[in-house]
Symmetry: C2
Subunit: 281 residues, 2 copies
Amino acid sequence: MSNWYANGASVAELAVDDRGLQYGDGLFETIAIRKGEPRLWSLHSNRLARGCKALAIKMPSDELLGDGIVHAIAASKLPDTYCTVKIILTAGVSRRGYARAESCTPTILFAAFATTPPPASFYRDGVETRICSTRLAMHSPTAGLKTLNRLEQVLARSELSENNLFEGLTMDADDNLICGTMSNVFFVRKQTISTPPIDSCGVAGVMREHLIASLAIQGQRVSLETMPLADLDTVDEVFLSNSQFGVMPVASCDAMRWGVGAVSREIMATMAKAGIVECQS
Amino acid sequence: MSNWYANGASVAELAVDDRGLQYGDGLFETIAIRKGEPRLWSLHSNRLARGCKALAIKMPSDELLGDGIVHAIAASKLPDTYCTVKIILTAGVSRRGYARAESCTPTILFAAFATTPPPASFYRDGVETRICSTRLAMHSPTAGLKTLNRLEQVLARSELSENNLFEGLTMDADDNLICGTMSNVFFVRKQTISTPPIDSCGVAGVMREHLIASLAIQGQRVSLETMPLADLDTVDEVFLSNSQFGVMPVASCDAMRWGVGAVSREIMATMAKAGIVECQS
């Protein structure tokens, strides 16, 4: 049975002519529902609004989005204390061709999914990762946005299928690390925390933004810095951020090993205080 | 009423969980049906196979594809003498997340659309174009392929909506011309014909390939050459290629004017002989 809903009604299917399928002409958000609330909602909503502006899709009202989330959870009978809601917003149904019809009405879909937090051992011991050979295209007009054009992530993710790695790190064509397939990445070197800029490729994650803001409140700055692959073995610590799992230390990447450092532990504590329950593990 | 068909049955809708919608995890082909035959079929089929290889989707058999095309035309009651068939092939339905389930079965959909050739005046007088401000991301892992990730073309095309221009030319971030939003582009300078390489971004069109091959038979070479925007006003002629309209001369691009040159006329005559009926206009 489908767990997708549109306008409060269950929908298993979407018109084949929808531009979301035809061209990936749309956006999505995957929201952690915690203690009855959509976590980091304002950040999700802001990114969706930026995407709508870039794609010239009408941004749905906050009320419509809020009602859709509440309804998807209620209809799914999942606990609103811990689950995930995905929103898909497309340009809607249109005639064939890249040009949208004037009359195009956006499609908006909601679904709730059961989810469990990663094991506490992942936060304690860190996770294993690798460098993906799939590269991210540079100077993308939709860099940072969460559009329905996600083939790069699909291809990079497929490189992890034959092993048990938690995540793969992706680079641009210039051998600079950008992000994980489903996460953003941070580096610690001599107490300095950095993360790669997301203005050429990759997705600007809401947890990345929340982490940068939470550290700023404490007077800790995260610098936006390019990280060439060649420099990766000179960093002291590596960690990931993602809307669902919060902040996760990276124990290793291919042959490089870092374990879990003091700064990563401190940051997890900060994030736990900032409401990211997973980081209490 | 939907004109989409799957397994010989009419389908107006697709599972929301299909990866084609969720991530653009799929491919398409838009085929000109002329005189009862899918024109340039082997080139379409080859590009689809290259896409399947890159995306690790099982390539459908030629029989399945052929039957699907024939059925879509018959069911649509459109004339098989002149119409268009679109094939969409996706990775299929899978659990949430970029990783595909092992058991993922590809989705394949067919539809026939009514179409008419462009007016003869377009071929005689050339068409008006502009330079789009939307840039194509560089070093794309899916460069050349016709995937369902087509936001760049959608965004570029939207720049034409307020005027009557036939096509927009797109550049990469280095100000090199790559292709049109729905076509490939060729330049003539001092009798030399060139077209930009499609190994970093853009779509490698089947008509582009057919044109290069048809000219080669005559001993005429098309060179793969980077064309910086700054050099565009030094070329003598510009023309476009596309599977549906064949070869079309470009009369102007923004303030640059070329009219229709002798080489473009010769090439249209060559293509008309090579079976592209539109070029007889």
